[in-house]
Symmetry: none
Subunit: 211 residues, 4 copies
């Protein structure tokens, strides 16, 4: 995944300061918390990072690209906890994801860049690769683990398996995001339990059908 503007083919010249990247991304998250998306300015980010505006523009094409990168780093910490059962694993992921969305930089930035991406195809692509697909791995890993535990039967048809995984993913991610950001209600243990119950029940019912 390449979202920063790459340095020119190295034929000479002073190399870019690697520390600046980290400082810029951290400052971006900080500024997002304090100012929100629409009041965040690249000049301000540069100042916080102790870096010139030109340095920032040399590496990122604009506000959206920078924010996507800054937020994407946060999604690296998501992982599938092993809580012993499929239901518990799902609850764990839901709560972990909700905790991430509860952080002000994430909640503000995520919706804003998605909004921008509705009229910017490359940006949508970058969001998908940098952010969204990291979560999809969790769904696949969770199913694999459940199958190893014998909680789920092996899926013989790979096409149907992919469709189901996509559906599950949209349901989980969509419900949690909607609950947290649109309904603005807490995603607590109780909600996670009820949601997991609904999801697993639905999957069982669906598995009984011909898809």
């Amino acid at each position: 995944m390449q979202s920063r503007i790459p340095p020119p083919a190295r034929t000479g010249g002073r190399p870019r300061n690697a520390a600046a990247d980290a400082a810029i991304l951290e400052s971006t998250r900080q500024a997002l918390v304090e100012l929100g998306w629409s009041k965040l300015t690249l000049g301000d980010v540069a100042t916080r990072a102790g870096v010139a505006k030109t340095t920032l523009y040399r590496r990122w094409a604009g506000k959206s690209e920078l924010v996507v990168d800054a937020v994407a780093e946060l999604f690296d910490e998501l992982e599938l906890p092993d809580r012993g059962s499929l239901a518990a694993d799902i609850e764990g992921v839901v709560l972990q994801f909700a905790a991430l969305l509860g952080r002000p930089e994430t909640k503000t930035a995520l919706m804003a860049v998605v909004a921008e991406s509705t009229s910017d195809e490359p940006l949508r692509e970058r969001i998908r690769t940098s952010i969204v697909d990291r979560q999809k791995r969790l769904v696949l890993a969770g199913r694999k683990r459940a199958q190893e535990r014998g909680e789920l039967p092996p899926e013989p048809d790979p096409t149907a398996a992919g469709l189901t995984a996509d559906l599950i993913f949209d349901v989980i991610a969509g419900a949690v995001v909607h609950r947290a950001l649109v309904s603005a209600e807490p995603v607590d243990e109780d909600w996670a339990r009820r949601f997991t119950l609904l999801l697993l029940g639905g999957l069982a019912a669906a598995a009984a059908q011909t898809w």
Copy 2:
């Protein structure tokens, strides 16, 4: 819900031009389609509407408020079709909602104002009353109709009923939005059928438990 700035108590003076409101809202939607949220400017909207900037500011407090109103009008057309069964009704709502989200002005505006609302409580309130609650009513109406048909048992506990309705609502709206805007995959009849199957199966399983 009143989001426009109200005219002063009428003691005389020229009344506001009612046609201007419609022109402004329509121009706002048009501009959203062409420019997206971040490049939409109020000056541009005023020009398109053939109206002075002052006229616009006399009636709305800012960009977010204006866009919420402009988009809210689109949600007026949502209604619960009677397709004969609970499953068919849900599929109908899903497809209707997806069709609305397919329009560029809706998709852009919805995510953008939600993003702004993460750091603007009054705005979130306005979004809830103008937009979100219009959808939630469909869930409630759908359940009522299903109970009348005998497809669902009456819910004796109003608290549990509310919790369930909220959960269903977050799942439906969240999944459709995520599919349409983030995954950027089509919400077609097939997807709607598979999603409905999952949802109803989950509800049945959940109803068998003590919530």
Copy 3:
């Protein structure tokens, strides 16, 4: 002479603040004294004048145009003193002109805008009308007065008269500017006397020839 950007044909709208013009021009001269031409910035001028940068750009196209106007105001104070004889009048004008060129805002600005004008024809035209031609009037007025006094014969041939006036003008203005700005030597009473002697002697000799 029109060097400011004119306001649009008045059909409505808030009128320009006339006081701002004076404040801007005065601030420009002040900044020229302190900073010199190349370090003068329009943002700084705007700040000094207590005016927004946009106001400044609404009225002038750029640095050169602004400085020409600012300096041109200084040339309004030049006038032909009546000192009783042609020689004394010339000496008076020379000293007056030298005093003007001695002011730091004039000396810096004049050469700089002339330099810019070498690759900017409209600017040269503006300099000529706003600044240079004001001085040429002094030559014509001086000759007229000398003719009334009987010190010079009436000039029957208008073409030759024009040529002579242009030549005199280039000699006077050029010599004073060169002495003051390039040689950087004082234009004092002694120099003025010697220069006038040379000029009048030359004119008398030239008048004896067929031009």
Copy 4:
């Protein structure tokens, strides 16, 4: 006169590339013609000369110094032609000087560096030695030759001689510059003849006085 930054005392290391100097000065003149003073940038000059910016800064302190050197080279070609009489010699110098000022790089650069020099004493000094004094020598040489021819009497008082030479120099250089750059009229043979007539007549008249 040394206006380039001298290389460090030679203790070893790679010597400077002498060809680069010529390329830089030539590129400077070229860029002056195309861009004018204010739009000329050192980075652009370096690129044209096929040289790194650092090389340029290693040798010159800034834009003014570089341009003075670039233009000074042009003044090397000035010389006093022997046309047989004082009047003809003066006309020849005037035309030669005018031809130099007619070149766009000269006219632009000369005024610009003089403007900068009004607030930069070392720069003025450099201009005087590199450029102005080259012209003044022509005045002195011309007088010497005229005295040898017997057209002018020997000047017994060296102080008065210096004063007169300075005055003549300011008058010639000033008038030609003003005619060419400010009035923007051609300095042709006719003008040169009329100007010389005026000057020589003035000198004769002045010589008749006690200075």
